[in-house]
C-alpha cells in the first residue's frame, strides 16, 4: 500500500474550486504526476502531485481539512 503525503502544512482541497469535480474520485486510478489535490498555504495554492502510481485511491483527509506537512492525504492499492 502506497501513501500520498502532504508536502506542506495548510488546508487541503480535493478540487480546483467548489463548483468543480474532485481531481480524483474515491476509487480512481492514479498515475505518477497526477494532481490529486491542492494545499493552500498562506493564501497561495500548491498542487499535490502523486509521486507513486496505484489504483483504488482512498482519501484519508477530507476536503477543506487543515493538514500538517507529512500528513497522509490518501492511500493507494
Amino acid at each position: 500500500m502506497a501513501q500520498i503525503l502532504s508536502p506542506l502544512p495548510g488546508t487541503f482541497y480535493r478540487s480546483a474550486s467548489p463548483d468543480q469535480p474532485p481531481f480524483k474520485a474515491d476509487g480512481a486510478d492514479v498515475a505518477v504526476g497526477d494532481v490529486i489535490g491542492l494545499i493552500e498555504v498562506m493564501k497561495s495554492f500548491h498542487e499535490v502531485k502523486a509521486e507513486v502510481a496505484g489504483s483504488n485511491v482512498q482519501f484519508l483527509t477530507d476536503n477543506e481539512e487543515p493538514v500538517m506537512a507529512g500528513a497522509v492525504l490518501a492511500e493507494l492499492s
Binding site: 506542506l8 502544512p9 495548510g10 488546508t11 493552500e40 498555504v41 498562506m42 493564501k43 497561495s44 477543506e64 487543515p66
Partner: protein, 456 residues
C-alpha cells in the same frame, strides 16, 4: 462612548486595535480560530472567545459566530480591522441590527464606495479626477468608439464581472480595438456569465499615491498622503509618507479632492482614497476608496502624530472631529516595510513555522507592529504578514539609513522572511532617489534575484 470592544480580526492588526482600545480605557474581547489559541491578540485582550475551526470561512468570516461572541461577552462595539469582514456591508448592517456600534463607515457607505462604478460616479460628482473611460457599462461598440476619443490608446477593456486582474484586455490601436472588443464581450459572457464591459485609459508608468481621511459623518479632514508604489503582484511591500514625488501645490489639490469626496459621501471613520499619479504628465486620477483602516496606516501616524485607530474608536463612540485641518502637519518622513513569512530567494514561497528566536529592533524612530513572540508558531491558514517595521526620521534619506540599521538589528529565526528584500532595496540607487513606479519592483526582482538570499 464604547465600553467593551470586540476585535473581529487576528494577527498584527488585532494587536494594534487592542492596544488602541486599552489606551482609551476600553475593555477588549479577542476572537480566535482553533489555530490561533496561542496568538498574541488572545493573550493581550481582556477576554477571548474561540469562534471556530482554522478555515477563515468557518471562523473569522462567520458572521453568526462573531455576533454570538459579542452577545456572550457583552461587547457593545465591533472593530473589523482589515481583510476578512472589514469591507462587508452586510456584516456592518448586521452588527448595527444587533444593537452594537460598528467601528467604521455605514453599510451604505461601504456599498457605495465598494462598487467600482458607483464609486467612480461619486468621485466624478465631487470633482475628483477619474481615469478617463466609460462611466459604467458600455452598451455597444458604437458607444465604445465614442469613448475612445477620451481615452486614446492604449485602452483597457475590462469585464464588469471580472476582478483581480482577470478579464482584462489591452488594445494599442483602433484595429486591435475592433477585434478585441467583441472578443472580450464573448469571453466575459463565457467566463463570468455576464458580457458587460468597461473601458479605461491605460496609465503607463504611474505611482500609487493614497490619501488618508478621517470623517465624522459631516466634516472630514485629510492626514496627507502615502506612497505605495513598490508592489509585487499588486501587493504593497514598502510604503512611505509623504510621497517624494508631489509638489506642494499638487499635494494640496490631491488632499483637498480626497476631503471633498469623503464629505460628499458623509464618510464616518478612517478611510483611504487611492490614486494613480502619472508623474510625467503631472496628473492624478482616482482609482478606489478603501473603507477600512489599512495595513500601512502607521506611516501616516508617524508623520502626523495622530493615532488613527484610536480616532476610529472615538468617532464610532459618537465624538465629532476634534482636529482642525490646519492642525495636521507633516513632520519628517516615515517608511514601513512588510516582513512576511516568505522566502524571497525562492520566488517568495510561503514559509510558516515556529519562531525559535526573536530579536526586535529598537531605538529612536523605530516602531515594530507585530504578533510575534519567541516560541510562536505561525499557522499556515492565513496571510503571511509577520510584522511591519516602521521607521521615522527627519528626512527620507535618514529614514532609509535608519531602516537599514533597524533591519540589521532584527532577527527572526525559524521562518524565512522578506528581510533580505528590504536590505537590498534600501541599498538600491533607484529606491534611494525615489525613481520608481508601480511596476518597477517586478522588473527589479527579475534582475536582482541573486541579491535576495539571507547570505547575499
Amino acid at each position: 462612548m464604547i465600553a467593551k470592544l470586540l476585535v473581529a480580526n487576528r494577527g498584527e492588526i488585532a494587536v494594534r486595535i487592542i492596544r488602541a482600545a486599552q489606551d482609551l480605557g476600553i475593555a477588549t474581547v479577542a476572537v480566535h480560530s482553533e489555530a490561533d489559541r496561542d496568538s498574541l491578540h488572545v493573550q493581550l485582550a481582556d477576554e477571548a472567545v474561540n469562534i471556530g475551526p482554522p478555515a477563515a470561512k468557518k471562523s473569522y468570516l462567520s458572521v453568526p459566530a462573531i455576533l454570538k461572541a459579542a452577545s456572550d461577552t457583552g461587547a457593545d462595539a465591533v472593530h473589523p480591522g482589515y481583510g476578512f469582514l472589514a469591507e462587508n456591508a452586510d456584516f456592518a448592517d448586521a452588527v448595527v441590527a444587533a444593537g452594537l456600534t460598528w467601528v467604521g463607515p455605514s453599510g451604505d457607505a461601504i456599498r457605495l464606495m465598494g462598487d467600482k462604478v458607483s464609486a467612480r460616479i461619486a468621485a466624478d460628482k465631487a470633482g475628483v479626477p477619474v481615469v478617463p473611460g466609460s462611466m459604467g457599462r458600455v452598451a455597444s461598440i458604437d458607444e465604445a468608439r465614442g469613448i475612445l476619443k477620451e481615452t486614446g490608446f492604449p485602452v483597457m477593456i475590462k469585464a464588469a464581472a471580472g476582478g483581480g486582474g482577470r478579464g482584462i484586455r489591452i488594445a494599442n490601436d483602433l484595429a486591435e480595438f475592433e477585434t478585441a472588443f467583441p472578443q472580450a464581450a464573448a469571453e466575459a459572457l463565457a467566463a463570468f456569465g455576464d458580457g458587460g464591459l468597461y473601458m479605461e485609459k491605460v496609465i503607463g508608468q504611474a505611482r500609487h499615491i493614497e490619501v488618508q481621511v478621517l470623517g465624522d459623518g459631516t466634516r472630514a479632514i485629510h492626514c496627507f498622503e502615502r506612497e505605495c508604489s513598490l508592489q509585487r503582484r499588486r501587493q504593497k511591500v514598502w510604503e512611505e509618507a509623504p510621497s517624494m514625488a508631489l509638489s506642494p501645490e499638487l499635494r494640496t489639490g490631491l488632499c483637498a479632492s480626497a476631503v471633498r469626496l469623503a464629505e460628499a459621501v458623509n464618510y464616518s471613520g478612517a478611510g483611504t482614497i487611492e490614486y494613480l499619479y502619472d508623474d510625467a504628465a503631472d496628473r492624478f486620477y482616482f482609482i478606489e476608496m478603501n473603507t477600512r483602516i489599512q495595513v500601512e496606516h502607521p506611516v501616516t501616524e508617524m508623520i502626523t502624530g495622530i493615532d488613527l485607530v484610536a480616532a476610529m474608536l472615538r468617532i464610532a463612540g459618537g465624538e465629532k472631529l476634534w482636529i482642525d485641518q490646519d492642525e495636521v502637519q507633516i513632520r519628517g518622513h516615515a517608511i514601513e516595510v512588510r516582513l512576511n513569512a516568505e522566502d524571497p530567494a525562492k520566488g517568495f514561497a510561503p514559509f510558516p513555522g515556529t519562531i525559535t528566536d526573536l530579536r526586535l529592533p529598537g531605538g529612536p524612530g523605530v516602531r515594530f507592529d507585530s504578533m510575534l513572540y519567541a516560541g510562536y508558531t505561525v499557522p499556515p491558514f492565513y496571510d503571511s504578514l509577520l510584522a511591519k517595521l516602521i521607521i521615522h526620521a527627519d528626512t527620507r534619506e535618514a529614514a532609509i539609513t535608519r531602516l537599514t540599521r533597524a533591519l540589521s538589528e532584527t532577527k527572526i529565526e525559524g521562518c524565512k522572511t522578506t528581510k533580505p528584500l528590504f536590505l537590498a532595496l534600501a541599498a538600491d540607487q533607484s529606491v534611494r532617489s525615489g525613481a520608481f513606479h508601480t511596476r518597477w519592483l517586478e522588473g527589479w526582482l527579475d534582475a536582482n534575484s541573486d541579491r535576495l538570499s539571507p547570505d547575499a
